[in-house]
């Protein structure tokens, strides 16, 4: 951007909230930019002014700072008692000016055209916050446990020791398959056991994609929980019980803005 007036013609969006007041939240945005609300239709968008280009950098410290700033703004909005709900935007959501509209006008246009959905979503997450729960298991522990438990394994192992090389190979393959099946069975059992422990402690819960990797601990459950502000005690107690069990590790994070419980799509193209 070379022209000065074009430098800040776009609006970086942090979230939508439920107050139609025009408020400044101070210079707490990405890069110390002034964060303020653009009200429309009983709602407002929390934004800062920025050039019409995405935030991108090779400098990880800089990026880290941006992501934290984004999170801080969401925290501030959630802390403000005059707002009771927040619909978070993802990093780098930037509204640009249109051919015959400024970016601010575009923000208002979007709020108005999506008002119904936005209000519905805001109501759903009113005075609530999100917590992340990830339960991982130690694959070595699980494997040992399975093998120690089973007569089938013992007899197959014995056969391997006693057989000729060709037959032993087949038994080894059989053992491998048996082991994999057992691990899956046992994992599924733990998944439903833990899920059934956790789910009753929160009003709303969502299963996120599990992401397996060859790391030390593997993911068993990945959950997002929507909880009334600060009321995570019961959830925390259950998680502590799971975390203390041998072979399992729990990561309990939050509070986050309700990212996983707000679904709003943009209006259809009206171009």
């Amino acid at each position: 951007m070379s022209e000065k007036q074009a430098e800040k013609e776009a609006r970086y969006l942090y979230c939508v909230t439920d107050s139609s007041a025009e408020i400044s939240l101070g210079e707490i945005g990405l890069g110390g930019n002034l964060v303020y609300t653009i009200p429309a239709a009983k709602l407002s968008a929390v934004v800062h002014d920025c050039p019409p280009e995405p935030y991108d950098s090779d400098d990880s410290e800089e990026v880290k700072g941006w992501v934290r700033s984004h999170q801080n703004v969401l925290d501030r909005v959630m802390e403000e008692t005059r707002f009771s709900g927040v619909i978070p935007a993802s990093f780098d959501t930037i509204l640009q000016p249109g051919e015959d509209r400024t970016a601010t006008e575009n923000v208002r246009y979007w709020l108005k055209s999506e008002a119904e959905t936005l209000e519905e979503q805001l109501e759903k997450v009113e005075n609530k916050e999100e917590y992340g729960v990830r339960v991982a298991y130690d694959p070595d522990w699980l494997q040992d446990k399975i093998q120690a438990d089973s007569e089938e394994f013992k007899s197959l192992k014995k056969k391997i020791d006693e057989s000729s090389e060709g037959a032993a190979y087949l038994y080894r393959e059989k053992l491998k398959k048996l082991r994999e099946d057992r691990i899956e069975e046992v994992k599924e059992r733990y998944i439903s056991e833990f899920y059934d422990m956790i789910a009753p402690t929160v009003p709303e819960i969502k299963r996120e994609e599990k992401r397996d990797s060859p790391g030390k601990n593997r993911m068993l459950l990945n959950l997002s929980c929507l909880v009334p502000r600060g009321e995570y005690e019961e959830l925390g107690e259950v998680l502590e019980r799971i975390d203390k069990r041998e072979g399992f590790d729990v990561k309990f994070t939050g509070p986050w803005a309700p990212f996983s419980f707000t679904e709003v799509n943009g209006p259809e193209s009206e171009a």
């Binding site: 776009a10 979230c15 019409p52 280009e53 995405p54 991108d56 090779d58 990880s60 990026v63 880290k64 992501v67 984004h70 999170q71 619909i87 978070p88 935007a89 993802s90 990093f91 780098d92 959501t93 930037i94 509204l95 640009q96 249109g98 979007w110 999100e130 917590y131 992340g132 990830r134 992401r211 397996d212 990797s213 790391g215 030390k216 601990n217 593997r218 993911m219 995570y232 925390g236 107690e237 998680l239 502590e240 975390d243 729990v250 990561k251 309990f252 994070t253 939050g254 509070p255 986050w256 990212f259 996983s260 707000t262 709003v264 799509n265 943009g266 259809e268 193209s269 009206e270 171009a271």
Partner: protein, 78 residues
């Protein structure tokens, strides 16, 4: 058990992948959004940690991404 706030992984899961979606007429779009997402993750979380948590959904994709990004970020820690 008390929740923690310093889990970069969880923050990124949310900030980079979730949140309100706007029509592309209104917003600045990136041709290579997923790639930028991966770069940001690598830069922020460090490769070892990424692998520990299994952030890559597709292992092959992960290796490709690693090959590309290894030199830049292997020395970054959180």
């Amino acid at each position: 058990m008390e929740p923690e706030r310093d889990e970069v992984v969880d923050l990124l899961d949310r900030i980079l992948e979730k949140g309100v979606v706007l029509n592309s007429d209104l917003i600045i779009t990136l041709a290579d959004v997923p790639l930028i997402g991966i770069d940001l993750r690598l830069a922020l979380a460090g490769i070892d940690r990424m692998l520990d948590y299994g952030l890559f959904q597709d292992w092959e994709e992960a290796h490709k991404a690693l090959d590309q990004a290894e030199d830049d970020v292997s020395d970054i820690e959180i």
